[in-house]
Each structure stands twice: as C-alpha cells, then as structure tokens.
C-alpha cells in the first residue's frame, strides 16, 4: 500500500483494479474534454485486451473510441497528427514488445516534434502499453522495456504500481501537453486470467485527481536500506521488506511511479538516510533503469556504507519455459537475500 493511498475520514474505501482505475480516469477526462479520444487494437467492443478501456465504447461511441486495424505505425502516426491539430488522443500499443513495428512514429515523431518545431507543435498524446512477464508468454510478449523508452528524450514515462496511482497518473498524462508512455504491468492489471497481485488493488477516490509526475512514493519507511523499484517490482520489494523487518532489517521502499521525469531527490535522500541502495527492475539489466539510478546516487556523492546493488532481468531474451523464466525474474526471495548481504557488508 503506498503512502498516497490514505483514506479521507469523510469517505469509505472504494477499491479498484488498475484496469478499472485506468478506464475510469479516461472516461472522466473524456466527459470533461471533448478533445480526448481513444484508439488502438481491440479497445472498443472488447474493452481492451487488458480491460483498461472497458465501458468507453458504450458511453462515448465509435467516433471517440476507435478500434484500429493492426497498423501501429499508421495509427500512432495518426495520433500525432490528431494531437497537432488540437485533439488529445489516448492510444494503446497492446504489448510494449510490439514497439518494433512502430518505433519511428513514437521516438522520431511523437517525441521530437515539439523540439523540432521550437515548441510550436507540442504532442499531447498518451501511449498506454502493457509490460511484464512471468506468465509464460515468451520473448515477444513479456518485456518491460522501461529503459528503452526512458532513454529516448522527449517522452514522459509512467509506470504505476497500484490503482490509485494509475488513475491519478492517467489523468495527469491526458492533461499533459507532451507524449506520455503509460506502461502498465500485466500482473497488476486485475485481469483474472493474468493473476492479480493483491497489493495493486487499492482505494481509488471517485473525483478526477492528478498525481504529479516526478514524485516517487515512499511506500514503506526504514533506516537500514533503500530499495528502489517500479511497477510489479514494488510489490516484490514490499513483500521482501516485510520479511526483512522480521529479521530486524528496516527497509525503505521507494516506488518511482514515473521514470521521466525521475525523482532523483527522493532516491538520493532515501539512500543518504540508509547508506545502502538496492534497485529492483524487471527490465533488462544492462544500460537501463537500474544503472541510471545507481549512477545518479553515486554522482550525488552521498556516503554509502556498502556498494549499491541491483536485481534486474539478465541480458537475455525472455525465455518461454517457466523453468527458465521464473528463476531469471526478480523475486522477493532474491531481494531479501541481496538486501541481507548489503546490510551485512556495510556493518
């Protein structure tokens, strides 16, 4: 449970899955602003393969909730044009792995037009896309690719870990005048067929609220070690922190919530407080999120009691067989073991 999911005294909890929180956020923005529309594969009648557009077709009709052909270069490019003339498209790329067929429209077009035009032509566009593995769907349907998108300038990158944040970040994303890559993890989505991490189901206020970008959440406070993660990794870190707490190690868990902008201040402050850093990332290890966070901390010059460590996906394509995939993924047990080593090394 994140620190942000507190309940106001005058209302009762209303728990939602991330899928429902996303759909609610989009619906509220569509009611508020006629320029918001949704397009993508299977987002209309089906309500999205991952449920995050369910109900929108019925309420807003096929002109504003548009099923597309399997033509990602075409419809993401089209969304950039819609944005150029005043619409605010919310586009779905069903699996982030499919970026390969349409990355030009994303990083050479959506991400750069604002700059190329000297600010004349901003691109208010949300690209929502599913990420993550662990369910045996192999190497073209299981990647996270957080680092790939965060690496390329001109796009904001959002990775919610729970329904409360998903709603507030989606509303902020739709209102943002820039391309926002909204990366939702399949294991957190609340689709029964993908399993559901219970911690991702949180209280979600009914009003349309924003969560500002660039503000990490401290989900659990502790003085011995800072564990930084995002998306599904946050829940592994929280489970690990619980176990570590039982053996007397107080772990602080930081949920990044957005990669671009990155809240380096919170990471550095937490690491300065604890003197120890562990980054948990389901994306590939090298040249990515975990390296960036560790570099940011090291560059800040904070005093460390032990070398920083990371648990990430190894530099291999994601294998199909659970016998190969599961051991390669981050896990609470790996976090506990590594955190223990870091704390002992730094004593």
């Amino acid at each position: 449970m994140t620190a942000t999911a507190t309940i106001l005294p005058n209302r009762t909890r209303r728990n939602l899955t991330i899928a429902k929180a996303m759909a609610e956020a989009i619906a509220q923005e569509m009611r508020r602003d006629d320029s918001v529309l949704v397009l993508g594969e299977d987002i209309a009648a089906l309500g999205g393969v991952f449920g995050n557009t369910r109900g929108l077709l019925d309420e807003f009709g096929p002109a504003r909730v548009r099923d597309t052909p399997i033509s990602e270069t075409g419809f993401i490019g089209a969304a950039v044009g819609m944005a150029a003339v005043g619409l605010r498209p919310v586009v779905e790329l069903m699996f982030v792995d499919f970026f390969g067929v349409c990355m030009d429209a994303i990083y050479n077009l959506a991400a750069k037009n604002c700059y190329f035009s000297g600010g004349q032509s901003p691109v208010p566009l949300v690209l929502m896309t599913s990420v993550g593995g662990g369910y045996g769907d192999a190497g073209q349907h299981s990647q996270c690719l957080y680092g790939t998108f965060a690496h390329l300038p001109g796009m904001k990158v959002v990775v919610p870990s729970n329904a409360h944040d998903a709603k507030g970040l989606m509303i902020r994303a739709i209102r943002d005048d820039n391309p926002v890559i909204f990366m939702f993890h399949k294991a957190l989505q609340g689709m029964g067929w993908l399993g559901t991490v219970q911690g991702s189901i949180t209280d979600v206020p009914e009003d349309a609220y924003e969560i500002p970008f660039g503000q990490a959440a401290i989900c659990r406070a502790g003085n011995d070690i800072c564990i930084v993660s995002l998306g599904a990794g946050v829940h592994l870190a929280l489970d690990a922190a619980q176990s570590l707490g039982e053996e007397g190690i107080a772990a602080e868990v930081v949920d990044l919530r957005t990669l671009v902008p990155l809240d380096r201040a919170t990471i550095i402050a937490s690491t300065a407080k604890t003197g120890r850093l562990l980054v948990v990332d389901e994306d590939y290890q090298s040249f990515g999120v975990s390296g960036e966070i560790i570099a940011s901390v090291v560059e800040s010059g904070v005093a460390l009691k032990a070398p920083p460590r990371r648990i990430a996906f190894p530099d291999i394509p994601i294998p199909f067989s659970p016998a190969l995939e599961h051991p390669a993924l981050p896990s609470a047990a790996k976090i506990v073991a590594t955190a223990r080593q870091i704390v002992r090394a730094g004593r």
């Binding site: 594969e41 009648a45 052909p69 399997i70 792995d97 067929v101 369910y135 073209q140 993908l194 190894p314």
Partner: protein
C-alpha cells in the same frame, strides 16, 4: 490440379493429426487453470492460439512443399508446423517448456523453429513476410528450385511489413508465395471493420503480382491455387498472393470468451474435417476402415508426442543464458 489419392490421404490425415494435437494441447492447457483461469498456471502457460478450423490452409499449401522449402508462420502455427513436417515430439516438448523441445524451452508455442525442415514462426504480426522474401531471393541467387511461403492472417495485410514485403518480392521477382489465412477476425476486430477492401487478393495488383482468393475453406481449391502459385514461383516466374477464406473455431486464444462475435456467426461455420471425410468417403478414396486406421495412427503419434513431452525434464535455469549468441 487435383490431389492424387495419396495426396488426399496425406492431407486428410494431417488435418486429423493437427486437430488431435490441438485437442490434446487444449486439454493440457486447462490443467491447473481452474477454478480461476490464470494463464500463468499449469503445464502450458502463456497464450495459446489454436488452429482448429484452419487446417485446410496448411495442408493445401504444404502438400506442394518439401523440407527444403522455407516457411514462416504466425502466432497460430501448429497446423502449419505439422503439415510442414516439424518434429512432432520436439514441438510438443517445446510447448510444454521442456529441455527436449525444439528450442530447449526458450521459444514456446509462438516461437516454433525447426531448421531441419525450414520452419519458423513469430508472435509479431506480418513479421515473417520479410524473411520469406529474403529466403526466396537467396534461393534465386543460388539457382536453387526452392521456394518460400509466408503464412499470415488477414489482419496482417494492414501492417507496413505486408506492403513493403510485397513490393520487394515483386521487384526482386522472388520465388515466394504469401498465403493469407482469412479467418475474418483480428482478435475482436472484424475484417470488414479493419480492411479497406473486401478481399486482400485485390492488393496484389498494387505490386504487379497475381492475386487469388479461395473461398469456402476448401482443401481441394486451396491445393489447386497454391499448387499453381508454388509451381510458378519454382519456375522462376515470380511471387503470388493468395487469400484463403478459413474459420477460427477456437477463439483468438484459449480464454477468449468471444463476446464480440455476433450470435450464431461461429455456430454457422463448418468444421472442415468432417466435411473432407465425407467427401473422401464419397469419392471412394477413403473407407471407414482406412479412416479408422489413419485416425488411430495420427492419434498414436500425437499421444506419443504429448506423453514424451510430459515425461521430459525441464531445462535447468542456467540454460536460459545459453544460445543468446551463436
């Protein structure tokens, strides 16, 4: 061009074998996924796209191919793999994620690779078309009489790779045949809603190549049209595009409730296997005894593959790190 009795029996038995394979895979897939259907659980995790109903496309085309010809298939690959002669035991083991699988468990159901018979497939729409054009061009450069065939779905005809590859195939006059399995649905989106023309064979004209449409999911018509296109490619006369009307009888993937399909639409579809059985019995090519024998043999092969796959060992975690590079 009509199938010989021998070809008919091969086509029929291969369709039966493919269907029995899909039925066994489906049964195994449901293990461990009840009462909550969680895709991650059971002996076969992940998405599972069955080809029930689409078998005529595989056999009508592959009847004209041998192991040296290059085939790329889709995320729904089993029927084509079986018709192309992919090792059934090793394919089953791959789908179960076992060390004895074609790829040692690295690829799974959407990434069936059997280099011995020049078969591969992919989970990315239209991705196989470029490789098919390239392989065909290589055969041409080396003066080999081999051809390449790329199977795609009708939804793939709206991808950039489709149009780029057709143009390349045409300007290079590659010995390639593009086969569209038109099952009318791209997950939940109907072809009529996604595609600007009613028939994708019309698009061949834009690339100066022959286009053909085969109606009725009919193995005989598929055999004839594919046979002519493949013979043409083999003779060095260039590429062709074929769109086959076929049926998706088992949903996009197992777990697809298909609420988007109009009532009665799926029920009105005909299963091609009983249809072909009746036809062959009528033609006197098959009799009930031979049918039983062919079916029993197919079933035995499938059951052997499935039980060997179940009994095989899982790879050890360290094997995940092997084969990233050659």
């Amino acid at each position: 061009m009509r199938p010989s009795p021998k070809q008919w029996l091969w086509m029929y038995q291969t369709m039966v074998k493919s269907r029995i394979f899909e039925e066994r895979i489906a049964a195994a897939y449901f293990e461990g996924k009840s009462p909550v259907f969680n895709m991650a659980n059971g002996p076969i995790p992940g998405e599972m796209h069955l080809s029930n109903g689409q078998e005529p496309c595989a056999v009508g085309v592959c009847a004209h191919l041998d192991a040296g010809d290059f085939v790329t298939a889709t995320h729904r690959p089993h029927h084509i793999a079986i018709a192309k002669g992919v090792d059934l035991d090793a394919m089953a083991a791959e789908i179960f994620g076992k060390a004895t699988g074609l790829s040692g468990g690295r690829g799974g159901h959407m990434h069936i690779f059997d280099a011995a018979v020049n078969f591969c497939c992919s989970g990315i729409i239209a991705q196989g078309m470029g490789p098919a054009v390239g392989a065909a061009t290589a055969f041409k450069l080396r003066n080999e009489r081999r051809v390449a065939v790329s199977f795609i779905g009708e939804g793939a005809a709206n991808q950039g790779a489709f149009h780029e590859s057709l143009n390349l195939a045409a300007i290079w006059q590659a010995p390639v045949v593009i086969v569209i399995e038109d099952n009318a649905w791209g997950i939940s989106v109907a072809k009529a809603q996604s595609t600007a023309v009613p028939q994708n064979d019309a698009r061949a004209a834009a690339y100066g190549m022959p286009g053909h449409r085969v109606a009725g999911n009919d193995p005989e018509a598929i055999f004839a049209v594919a046979g002519a296109a493949i013979a043409r490619a083999r003779a060095g006369e260039g590429p062709s595009l074929i769109e086959i009307e076929t049926h998706r009888l088992a949903g996009h993937f197992i777990g697809d409730a298909e609420g988007y399909r109009p009532k009665g639409e799926k029920e009105a579809l005909t299963d091609p296997i009983p249809q072909l059985r009746a036809k062959l019995l009528g033609l006197g090519i098959l009799d009930p005894t031979a049918d039983r024998a062919l079916t029993d043999e197919a079933e035995a092969l499938v059951d052997r593959a499935i039980s060997k796959a179940r009994a095989a060992a899982y790879p050890v975690p360290e094997q995940a790190y092997e084969k990233v590079f050659a």
